[in-house]
């Protein structure tokens, strides 16, 4: 069986890095702001779409101010009729709750993930490529652990665990078990 080729956005930190490190370097392409790809810029997304076109799986991981939604739409537009391709949109637990009025500093983050989930579900029935939306509990990335020093191991999963969920063939199992 041939090795699948992956592309991922946001591969230099956190969960994206864990996924990127897990796959053989020759089988994955990473795109991050720090390596010259800003998903909020249309021309940068065009370059990502072009360079990732021959991959089999696109992991839409980087998230910033609706840039992740645009990234999904742009990738879907070119892959929509190709049955061998797969797009995995990385969601967040924030999309599973109703945002409390006291947490409106998170409104844009929350809205971006709601949008990603809604658009994934709404478009997927007609696309030939596979479209997945996967989310998991809080992840203990370095940034998150610095922000929430009182977290115990009960409160989060490791980036490696999150990478397993993303790359698993049966995401439902993990989702149900962990939520």
């Amino acid at each position: 069986m041939k090795n699948l080729k992956y592309a991922i956005t946001g591969h230099t930190r956190g969960v994206g890095k864990a996924v990127y490190d897990k796959i053989d370097p020759e089988n994955i392409i990473g795109f991050s702001t720090s390596t010259g790809y800003d998903i909020n810029k249309r021309e940068d997304r065009d370059r990502i779409v072009q360079e990732a076109f021959d991959c089999d799986v696109f992991i839409n991981n980087a998230s910033d101010n609706f840039g992740q939604v645009y990234m999904f739409l742009d990738m879907l537009k070119v892959w929509r009729a190709l049955p061998d391709k797969k797009i995995i949109n990385i969601g967040s637990r924030t999309a599973e709750i109703t945002l409390p009025l006291s947490h409106y500093h998170l409104l844009y983050v929350h809205a971006e993930k709601i949008a990603l989930k809604a658009v994934s579900n709404q478009l997927a029935p007609n696309t030939k490529c596979k479209v997945d939306y996967r989310w998991f509990p809080a992840v203990g990335t370095e940034a998150m652990l610095a922000k929430y020093p009182y977290w115990t191991h009960e409160d989060y999963i490791t980036p490696e665990r999150a990478a397993e969920i993303i790359l698993s063939d049966s995401p439902l199992f993990y989702t149900l078990k962990l939520s």
């Binding site: 609706f66 009729a81 945002l99 009025l101 709601i114 949008a115 709404q122 478009l123």
Partner: protein, 170 residues
């Protein structure tokens, strides 16, 4: 009742505006308010703050979604306020693969609909999402000359739906 509306110089927005004038503030790109610019949305929120009803009508490349979020942030704890998000029949269908030139429009309306529903259980202000079938604005009739009268609503009929006390699903 004092109203505010975006996109008041054309189509459905104009029909609503003309009916409620002078009890309505209008904000359009042509009058200096671009909903895709953060600073313009901040001015709209400030100037519309004392209104009772905000009709989020102008749509452009997710700008309508941002507009909703920004006014909601300011009004979320105020029970007497009301936001009406104007949807579109595009938000009701699974987009056919042949129609992906409408992808951004479809995604914008799908998002607006999802957010209207997902955020409202906690908000004190009222949030509504109203949509209707095709509207025969001048621009649309020029684009689809084959339309007959039963294919569309007039802008005035759309304004009726927007301003009705109860939203009747189309």
């Amino acid at each position: 009742m004092k109203y505010a509306i975006t996109g008041h110089t054309k189509g459905v927005g104009k029909a609503v505006y003309d009916r409620l004038n002078p009890d309505i503030l209008g904000f359009s790109t042509s009058t200096g308010y671009d909903i895709n610019k953060k600073e313009d949305r901040a001015r709209i929120v400030a100037e519309a703050f004392d209104c009772d009803v905000f009709i989020n009508n102008a749509a452009n490349n997710f700008g309508q979604v941002y507009m909703f979020l920004d006014i909601l942030k300011a009004w979320r704890a105020l029970p007497e306020k009301r936001i009406i998000n104007i949807g579109n029949r595009a938000g009701e269908i699974v987009l056919p693969l042949s129609h992906y030139h409408l992808l951004y429009l479809h995604a914008e309306k799908t998002t607006l609909k999802a957010l209207s529903k997902e955020l409202t259980p906690n908000t004190k202000c009222t949030v509504e999402y109203r949509w209707f079938k095709a509207v025969a604005t001048e621009a649309m009739l020029e684009k689809y000359p084959q339309w007959t009268r039963k294919d569309y609503l007039t802008p005035d009929q759309a304004a009726d739906i927007i301003l009705a006390d109860e939203f009747i699903t189309q």
